[in-house]
């Protein structure tokens, strides 16, 4: 085995065999699951809390009583306001909703009074006003002697189906962009996550080795560039291993919990319906989504995703390695230098979110080419099927820039790794790039 191979093997195997690695790899999906359970719990807990609301109807319109549900228990009351208020004080009921005289069908603004010592949160307020709006709408329809079926005919659902102008281009449905947005967001986020987590791991490994002083023994055996690349590749492979394990574990745990731990699908769906109460025709939607997902060129997306994954990881890991070599004996020194590498990554994630909203914008075009952003932005745009020349130029720039960054990082690394004491200033760093060995 050559030296690079030996170093990669050492970096990989000592990490993968580490108990901490095994624990975090296995526990992280459980952590996510716990998070998920807590979210479900929070949502279901909120709907458990009920409010007893007494409605004091003085509107004179025979308003249809809103139906009680898990959230609200409505009772119509004829008692005077004061005695209802004292019921409130005694906690027999939570609120009194006073509906004053409703003057006629022409009324556009109708003020009602909600007596309570508890907070009236935004969600409750909007629900209550929705009940009343519907009741009054029914009352007005009745008063105006309108025909409900005719009224329903007024509502039209609009679908904007994008169609290609050029021939031989795949037809897209209205779901294409929605799916692409979600998929793109996930891909960009995954790369962001990996760069940050494992780039920082490379930096830590380099600094530890420097502080340990073993580095002098190592680079009398192998070149500093071999050492740097060995670390970057070794840690990168650890990252890939971890992700593959998670990709297998997470669905298994998810399914396992769904079927054995008593969570049923409806409970989970209630979360999504809470968020999107207007979702309808679920079955039809699902079929469309599946058809759209099947239409995507997965082989191409996966292959290009992998290229950007490697390119982005190598660029940032090399920068992190250079920083790791430049810091002094105190590992906390790295923070101020790390910032300069972290900022482009964080910027890239914000740009990525903007780009998936407007994939044809010039921002998307520029940032998908700029090598510090492209590893996060371009994978997010892949599902929008960007033109091949854009991908090609972006990849060429990524490759050239990657090569350049590794070259610079290697030069900073080989000088920095042998410097003890204070952390290096930017002036010194730039000098190291040009010093001869």
């Amino acid at each position: 085995m050559n030296k690079l191979g030996l170093i990669i093997n050492k970096e990989y195997s000592t990490r993968v065999k580490n108990k901490k690695f095994i624990l975090t790899t296995l526990l992280t999906p459980l952590g996510f699951l716990l998070f998920f359970v807590v979210v479900v719990f929070i949502f279901s807990h909120e709907s458990d809390k009920t409010y007893k609301v007494a409605i004091l109807d003085q509107s004179g319109t025979e308003i249809v009583m809103p139906e009680s549900n898990s959230r609200f228990i409505f009772t119509e009351s004829n008692l005077p306001l004061d005695s209802l208020k004292s019921q409130c004080k005694n906690s027999e009921i939570d609120a009194v909703w006073l509906l004053p005289k409703f003057t006629g069908v022409d009324v556009k603004h109708y003020s009602t009074y909600y007596y309570t010592d508890k907070t009236l949160d935004i969600e409750m307020e909007s629900r209550l006003s929705k009940y009343l709006t519907q009741s009054i709408r029914k009352y007005k329809i009745q008063q105006l002697q309108l025909n409900q079926t005719e009224l329903d005919k007024l509502n039209t659902e609009i679908i904007i189906d994008p169609e290609p102008v050029q021939e031989n281009v795949q037809d897209k449905s209205s779901y294409t962009s929605k799916i692409a947005t979600i998929l793109g967001g996930i891909m960009g986020y995954v790369i962001f996550f990996i760069i940050f987590l494992y780039g920082a791991a490379v930096m830590r490994a380099v600094t530890e080795e420097k502080i340990n002083r073993i580095v002098e023994v190592i680079i009398s055996s192998a070149s500093s560039t071999e050492l740097m690349l060995g670390k970057i590749i070794g840690v990168g492979l650890v990252g890939l291993t971890q992700i593959v394990i998670w990709l297998v574990l997470i669905p298994i745990i998810y399914i396992g919990v769904l079927y054995f731990a008593g969570f049923d699908q409806s409970q989970l769906q209630s979360i999504s319906t809470n968020m999107d109460p207007n979702a309808m025709d679920k079955m039809e939607d699902m079929q469309l989504v599946i058809r759209e997902l099947a239409n995507l060129n997965w082989v191409k997306i996966f292959f290009i995703f992998l290229l950007y994954f490697i390119g982005g990881y190598v660029i940032y890991a090399a920068l992190f390695a250079a920083i790791g070599a430049a810091v002094g004996d105190d590992i906390n020194d790295s923070q101020s230098l790390t910032m300069f590498v972290s900022i482009p990554i964080i910027l890239a994630i914000y740009i990525m979110f903007q780009c998936i909203r407007e994939p044809d914008s010039s921002l998307a075009m520029f940032s998908s080419m700029f090598p510090l952003f492209s590893p996060i932005v371009m994978p997010a745009l892949l599902a929008f099927d960007p033109p091949w020349w854009q991908v090609t130029i972006s990849l060429i720039l990524l490759l050239a820039f990657g090569y350049f960054v590794v070259w610079i990082a290697a030069r900073i690394f080989r000088t920095g790794i042998l410097m003890y004491g204070k952390k290096a200033s930017f002036k010194e760093l730039s000098k190291w790039i040009f010093t001869k060995q």
Partner: protein, 327 residues
């Protein structure tokens, strides 16, 4: 092939050559030929040349910041000389890290989380040995040091002295022909110091050259056959230890007599001090030790003991460094 940059003839030759052997007679395992290394404004290594033969313990001496580490890094291939050449076994060293060198830096370090056996095998394989060779060699060395039970211990579990032993094995495990040791005894108790010392002598007898850098001059006297003393990047003193000591002797003698007082020296020698019946005298120039002895005996005084005082390497070191600082 290699052209040497001249740094000018006006650089005065301050090198005191105690031994004037010609290059042909010396079988140099390691040869440095006018090596120069500059850092920014500082010339860390200035025209240094010396040869380390096979089977030799060679002292690389110098005050802190003299350029020893810079020189060692050039020899180990960690950095490159700006000019001049380093030959190892007759071949010029390029930047490729040479597997026939074993280097133990002053700043010790091992992977703390790695197990001892695994770590030694890794370091040995990095020097180009196969997995099987590495395992065999690590086993042999750990048995020799009687530390086989540490094989599966992590380095962080070891004491300082223990990890020092592991570090030493890491330096020699790949059977190097040139072993560079920077303060190898620091932090070791006398028992372990002796153990390592014996191993160093044994390695020397088997043909290895040992480049030994230290500030402990008594170790230089005890172990080294040759030295080079570096100050401010320049070699200010080099040669055989025996001859250097001879060169630096000041004709001082320690004398115990009975009676210890009332001698007339008559220009044979100067009495420098007398303490507890021990007199220190300096022989006058052109006088021999036998002459002063005869002169004392002729005065009917018993000589209890008489021995020449050689300068310690400590004195030689301090004198040479101070002189070169004032030049």
């Amino acid at each position: 092939m290699h052209t040497y940059k001249s740094i000018g003839n006006n650089s005065t030759n301050r090198i005191k050559l105690a031994a004037s052997k010609s290059k042909e007679n010396m079988k140099g395992l390691l040869t440095l030929d006018r090596v120069i290394k500059d850092y920014d404004q500082l010339r860390a290594v200035d025209q240094i040349s010396f040869e380390v033969p096979d089977s030799c313990i060679f002292g690389l001496l110098g005050p802190n910041g003299a350029g020893k580490t810079s020189l060692i890094r050039i020899i180990t291939g960690i950095t490159r000389a700006d000019s001049g050449t380093v030959f190892l076994q007759g071949q010029p060293i390029n930047t490729l890290q040479n597997p026939s060198i074993g280097y133990m830096p002053e700043e010790r370090g091992l992977y703390k989380k790695m197990k001892v056996g695994e770590q030694l095998i890794y370091l040995c394989r990095l020097k180009g040995k196969s997995a099987a060779e590495a395992k065999q060699s690590v086993t042999n060395w750990m048995e020799r040091f009687e530390i086989m039970s540490w094989w599966n211990k992590k380095v962080e579990e070891l004491s300082k002295g223990m990890s020092q032993k592991v570090q030493f094995i890491a330096t020699v495990v790949h059977d190097p022909s040139l072993i560079i040791l920077d303060e190898p005894f620091s932090g070791l108790d006398p028992i372990n110091s002796n153990l390592i010392k014996d191993v160093i002598i044994d390695l020397k007898n088997k043909g290895a050259a040992i480049l030994f850098s230290t500030h402990r001059m008594e170790q230089v006297e005890e172990l080294c056959e040759q030295i080079v003393l570096i100050n401010k990047g320049k070699a200010v003193l080099q040669g055989l230890v025996k001859e250097i000591r001879h060169q630096f002797k000041e004709h001082l003698f320690e004398l115990v007599m009975n009676p210890s007082e009332g001698i007339s020296w008559d220009g044979y020698a100067d009495l420098l001090s007398t303490q507890n019946d021990v007199s220190i005298i300096r022989l006058a120039e052109n006088r021999k030790s036998n002459e002063i002895l005869q002169h004392i005996i002729s005065q009917n005084i018993d000589i209890v003991s008489f021995k020449e005082i050689y300068p310690t390497f400590n004195d030689i070191f301090i004198r040479t460094v101070n002189e070169s600082n004032h030049e």
